[in-house]
C-alpha cells in the first residue's frame, strides 16, 4: 500500500467503470460438454452408451425374434446370417435376447444407482453440512454398510426380501448408498467452508437455500463422476445377481441369466456365453471410460474413491 488519494480528493462521480469483459456468458454445462467432446475416449463411450440406451428403449422393434420364440429344429446353432449371434439350447435367437436383455440390465442399473444417488447424496449432504452428531451417526451407519462385501450384502438383501428385479434394484441401490454418502460428504465438507457460502449466510440465506443453491451445485462434480462409475458396477452387480438366480427371473432375458444358462454348454457353444458377456463388458467399459473422462473434465483432483474400491 503506498499512496492513496487524500480524503478531500474523493471524486463526486463514480470512478470510471472498468471495461466490461468481452467474453459472452456461457452456461457451465455447455462448457463441460465441449471439454468432454475433446476427450475422444469419453466421447466415443458416451456415443456407444447412447446407442445401448436406444437399443434398450427400442428393443422390441430391433430384435429380429421375440425373446422366447422357439424353433426346436435350430437349437445351439453357431452364428450365421440368419442368427448372427447363434441360438441357445432352446433355439432362441441370442441376438434378440441380448438386445432385449439390455433393457433389463440397464433398467436395474439405472434405477439402483438412482436410488443410491438420491439417498446417498441426501445423507452425505446432511452429514457434511451439519457435522457434529448428525455426521457421526449417519457416517457410522454408512461405515457398517460399507464393511460388508458388496455382492454378499446384495445377496443377503435379496435372500431376505426374495428374488426378483425390484429387490435386485433395492439391494444394489442399498449397497451403493454409502459410496455416494461418502463422496458427497467429502465434497460438501470442502464447499461448506467456502467464503461464498458464508457470504450468502451473511445476507440472510437459510440453511435450505444454502444447501440447494450453493453447496449442492458446487459439490456436484465428484457426485456426477461417481454416478457414471457406479453405473458400470451396478450393471456388473445385476449380472452377478442374475447369474446367481437372484435377479430377474427366467424366461425373461437378462445378460447375467444368459451367462448362467450358457455355463452348461460352454464347450459346445462358445457364442452362447461370449455375446452376453461382450455386452456386459462393453457397457461396463463405456460407463467407466465416461466416468474417467467426466472426472478429468469436472474434477481432476479427486481420484481416490473411484479408482480404489472394487465396488
Amino acid at each position: 500500500m503506498t499512496q492513496l488519494p487524500t480524503p478531500g480528493a474523493v471524486p463526486a462521480e463514480p470512478p470510471p467503470a472498468e471495461l466490461p469483459p468481452t467474453r459472452t456468458a456461457r452456461p457451465r454445462w455447455r462448457e463441460t460438454l465441449g471439454l468432454l467432446a475433446r476427450n475422444p475416449t469419453a466421447a466415443v463411450s458416451a456415443l456407444v452408451l447412447i446407442a445401448i440406451v436406444l437399443v434398450a428403449v427400442f428393443d422390441e422393434t430391433l430384435a429380429p425374434d421375440g425373446p422366447n420364440e422357439q424353433d426346436q429344429s435350430r437349437a445351439l446353432q453357431a452364428p450365421s446370417w440368419g442368427h448372427p449371434f447363434g441360438t441357445d439350447e432352446l433355439s432362441r435367437d441370442i441376438l434378440s435376447r441380448v438386445l432385449l436383455g439390455a433393457a433389463t440390465s440397464l433398467r436395474v442399473g439405472f434405477l439402483s444407482v438412482a436410488f443410491a444417488l438420491v439417498v446417498g447424496t441426501l445423507i452425505g449432504l446432511l452429514a457434511g453440512y451439519y457435522g457434529r452428531w448428525v455426521d457421526d451417526v449417519l457416517m457410522r451407519v454408512m461405515d457398517m454398510l460399507f464393511a460388508f462385501p458388496a455382492v454378499l450384502l446384495a445377496i443377503a438383501i435379496v435372500a431376505v426380501r426374495g428374488a426378483g428385479p425390484t429387490n435386485a434394484i433395492l439391494a444394489i441401490g442399498i449397497v451403493y448408498v454409502p459410496i455416494f454418502a461418502r463422496v458427497t460428504r467429502a465434497s460438501v465438507l470442502g464447499v461448506r467452508e467456502e467464503v461464498y457460502v458464508r457470504a450468502s449466510r451473511s445476507v440472510g440465506a437459510s440453511d435450505l437455500r444454502l444447501i440447494t443453491r450453493h453447496v449442492l451445485p458446487n459439490a456436484a462434480p465428484p457426485i456426477i463422476v461417481q454416478t457414471s462409475i457406479s453405473l458400470a458396477f451396478a450393471v456388473l452387480a445385476e449380472a452377478a445377481l442374475s447369474f446367481l438366480g437372484l435377479g430377474p427371473q427366467r424366461p425373461n432375458p437378462s445378460w447375467g441369466l444368459m451367462l448362467a444358462d450358457s455355463r452348461g454348454f460352454i464347450d459346445q457353444a462358445w457364442w452362447y456365453s461370449v455375446f452376453p458377456g461382450l455386452a456386459i463388458v462393453l457397457t461396463v467399459l463405456c460407463f467407466n471410460l465416461l466416468g474417467d473422462g467426466l472426472r478429468d473434465v469436472l474434477d481432476p483432483r479427486q481420484r481416490t474413491l473411484m479408482a480404489g474400491g472394487g465396488r
Partner: protein
C-alpha cells in the same frame, strides 16, 4: 450520546475449543480469538479496526453479525440484543447489516451469475416482489457500484478482482443495510484498484448514510477512510480514538510500533523516521500472556504489566482517546498467578490475588 450508537459490544468473547482427537473428544483449552472486547460504533461513522494477522479482527467482525457465534458477552444493534435473536429476527438483522469479504475471488459463487448473486438478498428477504422488479433493482445496484448493468448475466470468472469486489459490495447493499462490515475488503486487490474501491466505499457511505466497520491490517489505508480507529492485539482492543489522535499521537507502544512501520511518502522524512521494530512473534491466542497481553514484545514493559490486566483509560490530548496501557497509570484487573494457587485459580482467588512486583519476564 448513547442514542447515536448503532452497534455496541460488551465483553464480547469468541473462544474456539481445542479438541484432542479420538473417539472421546476432550476439550483441552481454547483459542481466545476475541477475548473481552468492548466497542461502540456510532451511527454514520467509519470505524477502522486494525491489527496484525491473527489478532482476531475478522473474528470480531463476524461475531458482531453472528456469522461466528460469540461464546460470551453481548452485542447490541440499534437497541436489539443480537446475541439473543431467534432465526427470524436474525434474518432481519442480516438485511440491516451486511458484509464485504476480503477475497473477491472466493466470495462469489462461481456457478451463479452476477444477477443471481446480487439479487439473493432480495429473494431471501422478499424485497422487490416479482422477477422484473428484482432485475431492475439489480441493474440499479450494479450502476451504484460503477458496473455496467449489461454484465448481470455473466459469471464471476469473467471479471477482474476489482469488478468482483464491486459485485460483492452490490450484494451487501441490496437489502439497504444501515451497517456494513468491510473485512479486509481491499487487501487482496491491486494497489491502483484499492484506491478505487476505497473511494467507492466512501462515496456510498455518504450517499446512503452507512455506518462502516472497516477492518484492515493496513493502518495507512484506515487512516484515510476512518473517523475513528480501534487497534486490536491478541483478541483485545488496546487503543481506540479519533483517527487523527490514534494515527497521529498513538499512546500505546503497540500502536506506536504499528504506525512506525508505515512508510512515509517523502524521502527526507522517510530517512529521519524512527522505527520501532517489535521483537518476536505474536503469542498464540491459545496461550495468552498474563496481565497485559502485549508485554512479551513491549519495549517499555515494567513491573505491573504481567500482574494487572490493563483496562482502557483516557489518554492523550483528545476526548475519546482510550488506551489499555499501564504507562498511563495502572488501571485494570489484578491477575491470579498460577504458582499461588496450584489447584488452579478460582474466581475468588482472582479477586484477592496479591499483586507481585518484580516477577516479570
Amino acid at each position: 450520546m448513547t442514542d447515536d450508537v448503532l452497534l455496541s459490544a460488551r465483553g464480547l468473547e469468541v473462544h474456539f475449543p481445542i479438541r484432542s482427537g479420538g473417539v472421546f473428544r476432550r476439550s483441552s483449552g481454547a483459542v481466545r480469538a476475541v477475548d473481552g472486547v468492548d466497542l461502540d460504533i456510532r451511527r454514520g461513522e467509519t470505524l477502522g479496526l486494525v491489527g496484525e494477522s491473527g489478532c482476531g479482527k475478522s473474528t470480531l467482525g463476524n461475531a458482531l453479525l453472528r456469522l461466528v457465534e460469540p461464546t460470551g458477552g453481548t452485542v447490541t444493534f440499534d437497541g436489539i440484543d443480537v446475541t439473543a435473536l431467534g432465526r427470524r429476527e436474525l434474518r432481519e438483522l442480516r438485511r440491516r447489516a451486511g458484509m464485504v469479504f476480503q477475497d473477491p475471488f472466493a466470495s462469489l459463487d462461481p456457478r451463479r451469475t452476477v444477477a443471481q448473486t446480487v439479487s439473493e438478498p432480495l429473494e431471501v428477504h422478499g424485497l422487490h416482489g416479482d422477477r422484473r422488479e428484482r432485475a431492475a433493482r439489480v441493474s440499479e445496484l450494479l450502476e451504484l457500484v460503477g458496473l455496467d448493468p449489461a454484465v448481470a448475466d455473466r459469471y464471476p470468472h469473467e471479471f477482474s478482482g476489482g469488478q468482483r469486489q464491486r459485485v460483492g459490495i452490490a450484494r451487501a447493499l441490496a437489502g439497504e443495510p444501515d451497517f456494513l462490515v468491510c473485512d479486509e475488503a481491499i487487501a487482496s486487490l491491486d494497489v491502483s484498484v484499492q484506491a478505487q474501491v476505497l473511494n467507492l466505499l466512501r462515496r456510498l457511505q455518504r450517499r446512503l448514510g452507512l455506518t462502516l466497520l472497516f477492518i484492515s491490517h493496513d493502518l495507512s489505508a484506515v487512516r484515510h477512510v476512518a473517523d475513528r480507529i480501534a487497534v486490536m492485539y491478541l483478541g483485545r482492543v488496546v487503543e481506540i480514538g479519533p483517527a487523527a489522535a490514534v494515527g497521529g499521537d498513538p499512546q500505546m507502544p503497540y500502536t506506536q510500533a504499528l504506525l512506525s512501520a508505515v512508510p512515509v511518502p517523502h524521502p527526507e522524512l522517510e530517512r529521519s523516521r524512527k522505527r520501532t521494530v517489535l521483537r518476536g512473534d505474536v503469542p498464540s491466542p491459545a496461550a495468552v500472556p498474563t496481565g497485559c497481553r502485549f508485554r512479551t514484545r513491549c519495549p517499555s514493559a515494567f513491573e505491573p504489566c504481567p500482574d494487572v490486566d490493563p483496562a482502557l483509560q483516557p489518554v492523550g490530548q483528545v476526548d475519546g482517546h482510550l488506551a489499555a496501557c499501564h504507562l498511563h497509570g495502572v488501571v485494570g484487573t489484578p491477575v491470579a498467578r498460577e504458582d499461588d494457587a496450584p489447584e488452579g485459580p478460582t474466581p475468588a482467588d482472582a479477586a484477592r490475588a496479591p499483586r507481585r512486583a518484580g516477577r516479570a519476564h
